[in-house]
Symmetry: D3
Subunit: 283 residues, 6 copies
């Protein structure tokens, strides 16, 4: 992808057709991993989401925080254990997850966006019982939850009043037990419940690759074939699975893009070619 030089005023004007296209639609943006560790990237993402909000797109952010959770666990001498790539979550770990996600990372994202005028409000799946969950029961992962329902009322209230919701992926059941929820899956479920037109995964890879070549466009059936052929694996699995679910339930496009590229979001939205991999329904 080239970055040609522009005259300032021309660039602004070139944004017009994209504004026209996306005005009053909803994007859900999942944001986490390595992208979160580089100061300049955090700053740029804050600017990007604020800009998208200002031109009339409803932006909802769902964030992760795996490395910070592991870091705090270490400092508190709590053992970190992964089973099939998922964090086993005992009660101490769940508290670490809650402190890190809802306390540190959520508020850090919020304050950065607000410096740019973005009116962010940080909430978690616990607030107004936004993410109703139950114990994950395929195999025992302690307090890892799976999503039962999304109560999108609070998100819609915040969007209608011009706020930008930033959501920490925690869940809660009817008894008030708090669960650790996979952020990729939460983003997919929230996008579905909001009838979002786009779900964007800001990752630390270039996109979906086949034989180390980036694939820029994939249909649902192509993704399914790649999964069954094991061409997709690891942390990419919950993303593409959530993507497939979201596409089935009304989300128009899912993007897996490289958050390490400066202003990756703006490049994806405001250029015709886009970046990363775009997943769409079959026709």
């Amino acid at each position: 992808m080239t970055n040609p030089n522009y005259r300032k005023e021309d660039v602004l004007v070139e944004a017009l057709p994209y504004i026209q296209q996306f005005e009053n639609t909803t994007f859900v943006i999942k944001y986490g991993g390595a992208v979160m560790e580089v100061e300049s990237l955090k700053e740029m993402i804050s600017q990007d989401v604020t800009l998208l909000r200002k031109i009339g797109i409803n932006i909802v952010i769902v964030h992760g925080g795996g490395k910070e959770i592991t870091g705090l666990s270490k400092k508190l001498k709590i053992e970190t254990k992964f089973i099939n790539g998922q964090r086993y979550t005992d009660e101490s770990t769940r508290d670490v997850v809650q402190m890190t996600l809802a306390g540190l990372i959520n508020k850090d994202i919020v304050r950065r966006i607000n410096i740019n005028g973005g009116r962010a409000v940080g909430i978690s799946g616990i607030d107004a019982e936004l993410i109703k969950a139950k114990k994950f029961n395929e195999h025992d992962l302690g307090l890892v939850g799976e999503i039962v329902d999304i109560n999108s009322g609070l998100i819609n209230n915040l969007l209608q009043n011009g706020y930008l919701p930033v959501i920490a992926p925690l869940g809660v059941d009817d008894m008030g037990v708090v669960y650790n929820i996979n952020a990729d899956i939460a983003a997919g479920n929230i996008a579905t419940s909001l009838n979002a037109v786009k779900l964007v995964y800001l990752t630390d890879v270039e996109g979906v690759k086949l034989e180390s070549k980036l694939i820029s466009h994939l249909s649902k059936s192509e993704v399914q074939k790649m999964i069954s052929n094991k061409f997709i694996s690891g942390g990419m699995i919950p993303k593409v699975n959530s993507a497939l679910g979201a596409l089935s339930l009304g989300v128009q496009k899912v993007h897996i893009i490289d958050g390490r590229v400066p202003h990756a979001l703006l490049l994806e939205i405001f250029t015709s070619e886009g970046i990363g991999t775009e997943l769409v329904n079959d026709y």
Copy 2:
């Protein structure tokens, strides 16, 4: 003014502080004269106002159309007569004014903005008796009117529903008589009634000049001195007089800028130095 080159995504992000500053405020833009005759300028102004609307600024356009009026008058063999720089307006001329402003120019501005997604609606001072007027009576100018009152209800309705009002400067009295109204003065009165933060005159001069040097900043008292010293004259007089009136009644800044510069509006709003002459209250 230099036009440095930028990277596309950086330009968009640099707009953020200006968006933050002007969101939900109202700008009234007067637009006419030579600017209206260059196809590319008309196109760029349409893009500029649409962009400003999309980022949350309430835009109201007031337009003139002197040359086109004279042109149609000639074709219809109606004599054009100016008294102290103002068009003597008999009934035939008033019909030409009405046809040109409300019929041709107003709709031409509207259709150009709408191609860009700007949701423009063209109205005149006759509609909903927006500009209440009476016969100008300093000396006889026929059906030239002076403004008695602005009924801003219709403009506010359109703005609240996301439309961009484009206003042809005609006035009407209680008997239904239609008057030709000076567009510069109409823009000033409308800006005042809407409590606009900015009133922008997009002209075909660089701004207010003293000994052929552009003055970039003027306070009310400095303007008054320049007028009484006859350093300001001709078509600039109704602009600065309306500017002074608007500043007295709550408008924060009046800008007289060069509409011949490509994307002059964006340069004025999105750069720290601005262009042209800016008029402000004394402190």
Copy 3:
């Protein structure tokens, strides 16, 4: 139809059942031709529509202006050419149409209604892209357009805020090209999109006639038979065709009435027998 004499207060009271019947419904009124040339008729129609608006009927006016267009064309030495009764519209003619309809006639109707307190607002099909059109392509008529879609949002906004929309029948396509649109057809399409209960053609004939006898009531199938038997022809064709379309798509009644009768609209609405021809669906 006789015009018996009444006591003032009794007349007002006799209006009650009609008010009860039509409150909060929508009427679309097409108005043009000879009716537009008689000062007293113009005055009376302004009073009538204002009165209907005041008693709670949503009134939308669509106007024509053929004679005035031909008149201005002549003055400007632009040749007028009709093909199958439709005006061939080259670019110069289109500008004449636009000036006459949106500039002169539209604003003249508006100012007359407003003298009576009717809160009229004049717009055209160009404004907010109200009438989306494309080139008419049955045979070449230049910039004559056929209607692709009616965006009724702006009309509904104006009605909800108590305004009386007056619409000049111009259309616009995605590229911003402006088209001349048949006013009778525009009225039919607008009535359909607003789910109007009545569409009224104020014409300069008594109604639909058979062997020079006025027919006061016609069903859809009777009209179709009359068309195929060539008992209906000329300028009546677009009216009855639009009427048939509107009736198919939800409009309850179409009236073709004689606008030359003083206060024809009031007589139609407030008397049990009505005037002119009424077209209804078959049962």
Copy 4:
């Protein structure tokens, strides 16, 4: 006052300037006495208030019912006693008042208006504690109350939803004791609390008279002089006193008109000369 003959459609149109003048204003109409005993008058008043409501005037009716109260008292063998022209109200009498006003007369007025489409809702000063009262204590009148406060919230709610409130003049204190309230005074207080432009007393006299000549216009100071000179007396006293109070507190005009004239209300509103006596503030 003559009743010239009119053509139906002209009469309707002549109503326009009055509609324009009174649209969206509030009238309080007091209605009682002999007017209530003539079937045709009751019918006509129902039509008149419905018509006024339909053309956009907020109508509130306050009614009396003295003769019916006396009638029912007689049948129930309850003695009727008047002290200084006011009904001494023991508990049995208060129940008779409540049954007659809130039960019989209020609902009779309501049903008549609703036949004409007027959407009347009958309430009393007890409902939502609309008329807060206390025991009248100038001299002992039993359960006769004087008004402490008007809670106009319910009336405004009904008006905003398009209803026509009909109010029985009963009051209630903090303990829930129900009082008999003078209808003329209630009407004056309600008009004041609603900031009505007109308060109309539909009486069974021609208006205020001096030496048996009807006076058509009186200023506040003229009325005060007439009272102190004892030119005004009897049942006219609470009317003019309430009128003076209402005029002091913002009501623009009070009319005392002859309800026995057919359609007296329409004649008052829709003719330039009006009928009866009009009371206004001094200037």
Copy 5:
């Protein structure tokens, strides 16, 4: 049913699950008969309904008044005649019904609730033509009506503005004729039209009994069997028939409870066992 003793603060807290369950739902409460004659019961019911309103339940009251009607008829020497348990209603009787229900009882219930802060508003089926009726024609009962339609607009308006509607069961036809309506049936129809979750009959019996044993729970089919077996008879018939109708049309539960038990309503709502008989749909 036992009445254990509680600590004040615990009782309040135990109400929470019931509040959570019924918040924002609608209850229709029929109230009449012997319950209305005991001062302390009237006081307690006023408190109960106010409390239910305050915790977020939409309460609508429908009341009867048979004994009071008979009482007033006697005093007025109007003969009372019952046919198959229904009051034959000639014109004099209808007036007595109207005075008693809309004048005396309705306002008495209203004022009692308002002392407790309940914002009650008393209306009848005549107001805004809330209960559209026609002459009962199974056999001649004079002006006894059967319900044709419920116009619930006014009730919904009052509920949305925080009022508590109290409804006198009178009906009106298109000609404005007023009918006496059975209160039990009116309550059932109103509950259906409001899509109420509960319809409660506050009666002067313990509930539905079989062989003098109270049955606490009955399904629709069980009730139908009891009716056909004549185990249900007398005044219980219109209650259970209205109950069956309401259950068929969306009401979830109907309760027939003993209004002579102090605070019967609160006991029914806020205890798990409830009191009286509860009727539900079959599954």
Copy 6:
């Protein structure tokens, strides 16, 4: 304070006058310290605030968390230093504060309230820049902030949509720096900005004492005298100072009550004597 026994239904009814008094008013409740460590107290407070919300009181909670902060600091081997009773807050400590307040405690309060149906939403002073702060500069306390402004927009939005806001006392400046804010002072400022009628400090003392005797009522001037006489000291100082400030700026009453008493809040609100110390303005 005695805890008499009650019949369940009587208790509910006795709440009515208090509901009537406080409906639609706003209470701010500060909650922290020892109260937070007893499971049963936490449960009871959740029930109490939910109940108050359900009966129509707008409840806003501000919470502390000093012990938990010290606890986590210890585990992370971060030294805790107090200067004049205030926590010196370096960057590591600020992160601990943020994690504990916004991550652990805030969400724990929220989930407990939501089990009872209270619709709580946890936010912090960072969200939507609710608490604008600057560095405390009386003496150096690191990142301890003092409040510059309360942006109550978000709180009002949440209240209007039926949510119960729970606020972690963190502040943010224009640069996005996050500060540790004293919870007592935050509660006072928020109560003022919301024009609350009550500000309640749920503490772990009985109230304000003089010579170990609880004082149940204190006026502003009495408090000021006690402060200057050093009869008030320690952690009570920021409470009474915030109380004085809030009273000066429109809050009607401040209560310092003993959160260790079961259902202390309900006892304070629903009994005439109340508990703890109540502070009011002088008269």
